[in-house]
Amino acid sequence: MNVASPLSGAAAIAGIGATEFSKDSGRSELQLACEAVLAAVADAGLQPSDVDGLVTFTADTNSEIHVARNTGIGELTFFSRVGYGGGAACGTLQQAAMAVATGAAEVVVCYRAFNERSGERYGLGQAERPMDTSADRAAYAWMTPYGLSTPAQWVAMFARRYMHEYGATSEDFGRVAVVDRRHAAVNPAAWFYGRPITLEEHQASRWIAEPLHLLDCCQETDGGQALVVVSAERARDLAHPPAVIRAAAQGSGADQHMMTSYYRPSISGIPEMGLVGRQLYRQSGLGPDDIDAAILYDHFTPLVLPQLEELGFCGTGEAKDFIADGHLERGGRLPFNTHGGQLGEAYLHGMNGVAEAVRLVRGTSVNQPDDVRNVIVTAGTGVPTSGLVLGADG
């Protein structure tokens, strides 16, 4: 393998752990974080005292010190946060991999935990959030006074333009939801376990923000997810086959906004995801043809289509045909969101998707395709984002 980056292959994900995924956890976000972290450490076959690094999202309410103090993690030599909501997901693993590769830490746990359904719901939008004069807050001044204030609405603006330019339809978006829910239906950890949907049900579901139906939108979840990163060498001695981090990258595009990059010459692509993809392939020495499965961020179905295009799995504007041809199914060219995605399993800001990629590499997914060696994972779309390629050892 032609490896171009010192990061590629240096670190591996050795442990994964999560709480149950629910709509009302009945406990604090900190407790969810601690449970997930301890589960991931145990899954790796390590002790909390082995951990010397913690990474989470700036959006997470559970500071590293609280997690460390409560779980028996002692001294920390590395702690870091990644911004931009769900765009942080794979970025936390990149932080961990860089820390391990440079010796800043030896065992780094990445975590994300929230009561996003029973507590503060992102889906309700930004209309009535506290005011201040920061640039981030002031950015909402251009949208919320007009009633454009929720993630579904922000995505719908991109979706409408994408449909206009490429002739995609609501059914093309619906096919993404159907695949997610089909995969979730056989995943006991998924909220929608045992509840697949049909395209007709997708089409009949109520409007949220045209052109988005209810079933184009992911659920909201209470839960926690954590992942343990160690050096690839150390991972070989631990409990599970390592999921080697072949590549990890972040990307923020030109004229980047949060969910509303409507001012670029074209808004039907996701240039920040293209930027992530190019880095992933360059770091790993792999190309789209080497990728055996994909975990693509699916808070809303429409933005799965341009991800397939930006990552080189099909040509620009051709994702609708790629999907209609069945390539995202378990037996297809690119098995997709085998856990059920955020529409089907849980909305854990993309971190549950990273865990599924680890299971795919281990060969333990509930929808395990044959012969998976390399899995691509993406983080939030419409925001500064990140991605990973995980691969089997050797």
């Binding site: 889906g123 309700l124 939008g125 930004q126 209309a127 009535e128 005011m131 201040d132 004069t133 920061s134 640039a135 807050r137 002031a138 950015a139 909402y140 001044a141 251009w142 949208m143 919320t144 006074p145 007009y146 009633g147 454009l148 204030s149 929720t150 609405q153 719908a156 603006m157 991109f158 409408r160 333009r161 206009h164 109520r206 409007w207 949220i208 923000a209 045209e210 004229d255 509303t260 409507y262 001012y263 808004i267």
Partner: protein
């Protein structure tokens, strides 16, 4: 409005309209008791000496928000004719002369310097801080009168400062058919309509919203390389200059993309609500609402023209309507 009238109004700015005037009674426990019962304020520091001392105070203290109550003149004075002919009455008369016969209090901001205790005797003086130009508000055309009230104790020490704002306005005639509510007339009747989400204003975007209040749609322009940009920011991404000015948009635009919102609903809006990204003739894009068109009629590339919504006294927003309906 004549220039002479403006000058007469302006003469009140900075003027003391209420000289220092003591309240009728000192701060006292019976009034505190009435107040905390009416307000359902069960904080024991207002009536229970022991509880108050347990917090480090010398004894009970009056609720801070009673400051204004101690200097109110009582029911008889409010029902009697104003009379007196003092400067406050002169200002009221002058505003009535301009047609601003209705009044509504819009803001009260307090700064408390110390807690008041029984036996304190509060006095207040009031100075006019500003009188706004005439504004088209949801209630009617009017002017905002902002004054500063300074509350003193018996020793002349300042105990609280209150910035007080009134809207003096010409009342509008009531619309007849409450059934037929367009977005425009809903916005004119705030008693039935929640405020739109307020924009967070900072040093980088204030100019735009200030111009919008005057129904001018501005586009920021780099003063060095003349590149237009929106949303505005402090620095030109093309040339790095921090110098900028603005150009006024022609108001011609076309629809670049749009959304029809159904859920969740915000009480400020009628649904389904159309939000669009329009591309202005000048080339920059803008998030806005489309009005005078139904969701099923909207198409990408459809030409639209600028219109305005006066959402509330402080917020006017550019919206767009189809060209065909211009002037309707």
């Amino acid at each position: 409005m004549s220039a002479a009238y403006e000058d007469r109004l302006r003469a009140f700015v900075g003027r003391e309209i209420h000289p220092l005037r003591p309240g009728q009674d000192p701060v006292n426990v019976p009034m505190i008791r009435h107040w905390v019962e009416a307000m359902e304020d069960d904080n024991p520091i207002h009536l229970d000496e022991e509880a108050a001392r347990a917090t480090g105070r010398d004894g009970v203290v009056a609720p801070a928000s009673m400051a204004q109550a101690w200097v109110m003149r009582g029911y008889a004075a409010t029902t009697a004719a104003e009379g007196g002919g003092g400067p406050a009455d002169e200002l009221t008369d002058l505003l009535a002369e301009g047609g601003y016969t209705s009044v509504v209090a819009t803001d009260s901001e307090f700064e408390f310097h110390r807690e008041l205790v029984p036996g304190d005797h509060v006095a207040v003086r009031e100075v006019v801080e500003s009188i706004s130009p005439e504004k088209a508000t949801a209630l009617g055309t009017g002017r905002f009168i902002t004054s500063l009230r300074t509350y003193h104790d018996q020793d002349g020490e300042v105990v609280a400062v209150q910035r007080w704002r009134l809207l003096r306005f010409r009342p509008k005639a009531k619309p007849q058919e409450p059934e037929e509510r367009s977005e425009a007339d809903a916005a004119e009747r705030p008693e039935e309509r929640a405020s739109r989400p307020q924009p967070a204003i900072n040093r980088d975007n204030a100019f735009w919203f200030e111009a919008a209040r005057e129904h001018r749609l501005l586009i920021q322009r780099c003063a060095a390389c003349r590149t237009l940009r929106h949303p505005p920011g402090p620095c030109c991404p093309e040339c790095g200059s921090f110098e900028w000015d603005t150009v006024r948009a022609s108001g011609d635009a076309h629809v670049y993309s749009f959304v029809v919102n159904h859920h969740p609903r915000h009480p400020a809006f009628d649904y389904p609500l159309i939000v669009a990204v329009v591309e202005l003739a000048e080339g920059t894009r803008l998030i806005t609402n489309l009005v005078g068109v139904s969701p099923e009629e909207v198409e990408i590339d459809m030409p639209v023209v600028l219109d305005w919504v006066d959402a509330d006294p402080e917020l006017s927003l550019p919206v767009f309507r189809p060209v065909a309906q211009e002037g309707h």
